[in-house]
Amino acid sequence: MTSAAKRMGSVKGPLAIAIGMLLLMVFLLVMSNRTGQRTFELAKQQLDSVEAVNVRMDGALFMSLFELQIDFDLLARLQAEMRTAGEELASVLPESGQTVLPLIERKLEAVEAFKSNQAIFRNSRAIAGQLIAELWQRPEVRVGESDRILFDVERAMLDFVGRRDAESSQRLVAALERAASARVPLTELEEWHALVEHAETLIDYTNRLGAVLASEVFYQFPVVLYEEGRRLAQGLAVSVAKAGLYRSLLFVVGVLLLAFSAAMVIRVRRYLHMMERYNDVLEDRVRERTEQLASVNEALRSEIAEREHVEAQLRIAQKLEAIGQLASGIAHEINTPTQYVSDNVSFLSSVWRDLEPVLDDYERIAREEGEKGKRSRELLERANVSFVREEVPRALEQAAAGLRQIGAIVAAMRNFSHPGGIGLQEGNLNAAIESTVIVARNQWKHVAELTVDLDPNLPLVPCNLSAVNQALLNLVVNAVHAIESSKREGELGRIRISSRSFDDHVEIAVEDDGPGVPAEIQDRIFDPFFTTKEIGKGTGQGLAISHRIVHKMHGGTLTYEPVRGRPGARFVIRLPLARRESSIEPQASYLEAAAG
């Protein structure tokens, strides 16, 4: 147990390692998401949209330049879009914004410059054309070489508008100078002045447009965007690689943690298994010890019980022996005085019989003798002789009867306590029943009415009378106790003892109207030490002794038969008439039988 606990304690170290690994995993996870990969991705996205807007803007510029698109709405919208995209890029990745935003500003400025220059160029070109057309309508064009001058200027103008180069611009300037030097009325016209102004404006704004379109920003922009894109891609690659490294580490640590956890689980399971085994062993030991203790306890208890019962048997045996000896002694002591009292009573009876005629004569004489007999008559009167003559024979008779009863009791006592013991002798069971009834009288007289129903033709039965007496007495006492346990105070139960003779055996039954024996203990009532009586009252030996006496000493049976139809118990002793030597223990006394 202690070693197991120690081992469980040693799990704490590995647990700390596992937690450490878990924390490392969390750290790696966080780090893998903090490599700036997302920022680079977003920045790249914004840069791409700047690039896309730029491409569209260049397209719109192209369309504007070649007048495929008249208005600047698209350009204006693209300018706003580019500014927004640039600002978003700057908000995602400020360093990228620092590179790209100034470029965007320059580009937007160039576009603005383009728009205003292009508008003026376009305007002047259109107006110049209209002015030339108007001048051709004027009469002044027919003066001198005016038409040639106008033609020259128109051709130079168209040439210039088409070429927009230095050469053609010089030719236009030359044509205008030639016209001016010609001093014809045509060149004095308001329209001509306007034409010249517009021509100058065209040259001026063509140059300006050229300067704008030659602006570095137009070719720088894609280059810078490309380089920035490459930088972002590199940053992205680095961050992806970093994230990949972190994730690989994460994976490795995860696998390690998994393996570690598995090992831990196995170890813990082994510990648990071990503890379980310890526990089982412990439980087995406890069970064993408990069983041992229980059996020892049981042995002790049965030993004590046995000892108690043996002692009780001894006490009963001693008591019975003492009672027997005492009864025998008392019987002898009573018998002797009773003998001579009896002799004297019978002497007095015979004397009285002899004296009666004498008294008769004396009375007769006293009556006849008149005066002489007066004194005798007075004496007779005083002695109340007539009453005496009536009562004395009766008194003597009663005395004789009393003496006979004493004699019977003494005989019964002697009979009952007769040690017998030497084999079986022909015995009168009816007499045995009667002596038992008399001996047990004190037991039953306040508890039950006892009736005896004896078979007058009961033959003598080979038996040990004193043992049979003992068995009968036990049955009677048992009946009395049964009745006592169920009857109320003052209510008398009934005990009936009967004898019957059959061809080969005689039967003595003791019945009572007590509660009877419950079915579940009927087969145990003859076991030694079995008792339902309260502790101290019964020894649990009575029926067992009786059973042994009947079965072992006499080869008979003692059975319990429930009484049908009413509560009560019926114990039947059956004693065989013909002796079966083999099953009899001729020397066994009832004491030996009781001691088992």
Binding site: V53, G59, L75, N123
Partner: protein
Amino acid sequence: MPTRRCDARHLQTQAWSLLVGCCLLGCSESDLAGVGPEFALPGPPSLAGVMPLTRPEGLDRQKVALGKDLFNDTRLSADGSIACSSCHDVAAGGDDGRPTAIGIGGRVGPLNTPTVFNSSLNVAQFWDGRASSLEEQIDQTVQSPLELGADWTTIEKRLRADRAMRKRFEAVFGTEPDAQTVKSAIAEYLRALITVDAPFDRYLAGDRSAMGADAVEGYELFSRLGCISCHQGRNLGGNFFQRIGVMGDFFAKRGRAPSEADLGRFNVTGREEDRYKFKVPSLRNVAQTAPYFHDGSGETLEDAVRMMVDVQLGRPVRDDEIRKLVAFLEALTGEVDEALL
């Protein structure tokens, strides 16, 4: 065989369109739809590509309503005396009818108040285009000492003290009122202020009776004389910057030497070529937004047209042509949803 010729041109156009489309990649078909068949002829630009204005879509109505109320809210000015709407009267052209703006405490600004109508279609905000978005423009206008003169902290404090306002901001933005949300709401309102159904729009949509004969002729003149060189696109301007006085001296004609404000976009970029450049204003609703030009020096539409013809076109234009141009410009007045007024 005019039909056949048309077909041939059409085919040619398609071929060009395809070629150009392939070259440009980024250009969608709709961008090319504005290309007229005259592309190959060096002549005056035409309005063939002009599209009528349409009602804005995809706006947050709740946000627009909130923006409208903020637009009319004097708490956005330092002293609580004026609101955006004080100068931008949406019931009268979306501007103030004054030569130059008057801010808090009667402070007079140097420039004419532009209309808020269709301002979301402009390439940038303010005459010099210093604000590239409406939000930026609102931010500057609110804080400009010559305009609302307020600061966002004060405005936020004021609006946050208003429970109803807080609730509305909560509903629209899920946050308390702050500079960013106030600007966003007002910008949304401005984006809603697109004028539609001008006679010209109806004319473009095919209703030939929508404009009078003078206006129709004015439209052709507008195109032929060169106005359209700058006032192009569906907003007839507003999408780029141009120098005032390309073909003449605007300031000389105005009779007043250029001030700092007259430098225009130069003040923003510092580039010499941007000197006197201003955002080409949209001509939409132009009849309602007198006086004209960045300095409000053009009192009437006719004055303005004459000035433009003089200093920008550099060509003689007859009076009847001026009248017809004005008739056309008057046909550019559209309407906004009444709920927005």
